[in-house]
Symmetry: D2
Subunit: 232 residues, 4 copies
């Protein structure tokens, strides 16, 4: 059956690298994002990929997008949940809305995408559901309360999904990114950092890809990813 | 200064045991719950405790309740966040609303109570903020997706609070309850279980109380609690 | 039945504080240490406590000491394993012997003491086996390879013991001490640190004591302990 | 520079699969084992691989073997520590020697191999040090006390090594194998298990290989590996 990859959360970092990688590997690629301009840019760069504009936190929109993917590309065999939102504030600085938006994008969005994709994933043997997470999922720091709690919830949800769906031959994995992705935007905001401070977006795409290639007799649920010089 | 304890989330289990314990120890006790009938029952049982009806997920109501406590009892020196909501369903069974309600009660409610109580806690040296959590915070199982992800988020938030507030002499701790509280309701739903299957609500109250008594040179953030015969 | 506490690993920090605490609570206290001079000093300070000189890593000596305790004080109802050895070196600096000695004192010694005490602990309902560990058990750092790996092994062994012995009504707990105990020796080596940098030995003794007082319906396996201002 | 892989701990499972994989990828492969008969068998099967008989827990022998590798094959660029020993007993069943042998093979052997290989690994940029561990490293169960405590120590040591050596461009990773390797021996002892109960040795070799191929901007320290149907 034709391999179809849906990537939720497209940006100039991991998102673009993932689109590129799955296109090169011969997948039909569906790109989901709220940002129509960036989607159009990627469609020009990757003519075989298809854009589906949608808000990852809007249940109806997500459902509609996955139905559209099924119709136009075939049932999804790999879902990569790459949508994320980071608010780095303390309890004194963060608003109720900061907490809610972080939870909606990181956690609820994963639930909505998983639910919408599941009937399609179940048509493949095996299928993949990969989540790009963060080391904040492992610990809450003073200044990352909204982000860390949402990432912890996201990781827990991914674990519930892995335990439920593994026996159905759907491989769920959680990628713990421990570092800053190398992007024009992050370079600008951290101008004093050396090259090797950053994680290359292609390294993330490689790791996601490698997860989809594992033999079902040896599946990984969780792996961390950090630059070699990172102090941890 | 007079010790004042606010307990958010009052029910016939931990909630009642906590009210009893803090009353016995000479605290002024504020009880926060949506359930006016049960609050009235507890006011009759513990005449020195004061009820503040309020929905723990409603920002304005929580803010108002804590202002009322300050005025009538004095500034809160110990906040116990005991509100909880458990939905035990798989991704196929759970609705978007199941996830959202679990997150609102377990996670957002903690944020709202912490924020409302902080100005009062900061008037005490030391103060306490204790959260009654669950072992679901440590792992997501297939059938506990909404509950586990919310508890993981709650635990992460408590950890962020502990790291921020410790140096301000506010002791934040997270109690990982690994088992079923002994209640008429749980006994009824698990009629075949022996007595020692259940955690006594008083054991939870003892643990919370012990946390509030620790010397600031040796504070606990996290401890687990389970019946001696529990397989884990 | 008379309560008897055996404390393995006696020094001027936790060890002395534990002896003092259990004596005050009316226990018969057995002190085990290699250091005859310090044992004699403690015997003078705590006339009701009894010294049993023994090397905690010597199987025969440990067995003999526990037989002696049984004969002279009665069967042990609480074993506190407080022996420890810390070597803080990298793989380049540490010798094979550094690794072996750390493992012998922290891990093997616990196994030997547990095995020697078990027949006596099994005569009590409930009994206690408390281990004073360290946060190094949770993570290996570059400069703590011998110590961290031994503490990780110690914690794992304590967990195996807890799972096996809980249903026999023997409460096994692991205390994760995350900080430096307040001692003349540590004060001298860290002269610039403020008072509140240190954990008071009495806070450790309080925590151990509190664990022995828990109701069997709510036992803690693991809890951390750190000074309120500690960054973690 | 020529790639040279030293594999410590060769058996008919992971060991053989690792030799095969690194030979196919063009590495010069050094096989270290106590078992001369099996080494000879592998030398016949993989003519390009070289056997170095040695006891992984004997410091002098390990040192000698790595000097021999350096002389005959060149400096090691990848060390795979695959030696392991499992004793599955409770505290009542296990002897002091059971604990010591598990620790010597799983933990001390890793330290000895790492120390012997380090001067050679440091000649490569980057180099790899991969440890095949077990999920017992994450938790101690009643019946796995000697094995679990040794694996926890091994994992902690690997973490110390990763933190120290990452910045030197030596990638240290720990593979958490959560399941039973598919071998004639394990099939025989578990005759009722279906095919998909077992982890294929090639899946382990794939995972080790994938770790050695990661870009230094995104290195994994730890990943788990389990059969898709495994309940965890």
């Amino acid at each position: 059956m034709q391999k179809v990859c849906a990537i939720v959360g497209i940006g100039p970092g991991n998102g673009r690298a993932l689109v590129r990688r799955f296109c090169l590997e011969g997948y039909r690629v569906a790109m989901l994002s709220r940002d129509q301009d960036y989607l159009s840019e990627l469609e020009r760069e990757f003519p075989s990929a298809r854009a589906f504009q949608c808000d990852a936190t809007d249940s109806t929109a997500v459902q509609g997008a996955f139905e559209g993917i099924h119709k136009s590309l075939g049932p999804v065999s790999a879902l990569v949940y790459n949508a994320g939102m980071g608010v780095f504030k303390t309890i004194d600085e963060a608003s109720e809305d900061d907490f809610e938006q972080c939870w909606r994008v990181n956690t609820l969005g994963l639930m909505l995408a998983a639910r919408a994709a599941l009937p399609q994933l179940r048509l493949h043997q095996p299928a993949n559901l990969i989540v790009t997470g963060a080391s904040a999922a492992w610990r809450g720091r003073a200044g990352s309360a909204p982000f860390a709690s949402a990432k912890a919830a996201q990781r827990s949800l991914a674990q519930s999904l892995a335990r439920q769906l593994g026996p159905e031959n759907i491989h769920v994995a959680y990628l713990v990114i421990d570092g800053v992705i190398d992007l024009p935007r992050t370079r600008e905001s951290l101008p004093d950092k050396p090259d090797d401070f950053f994680i290359k977006a292609d390294a993330v795409a490689d790791a996601v890809w490698a997860l989809t290639q594992q033999d079902p007799s040896g599946w990984t649920f969780e792996l961390d990813l950090r630059p070699f010089g990172e102090s941890w």
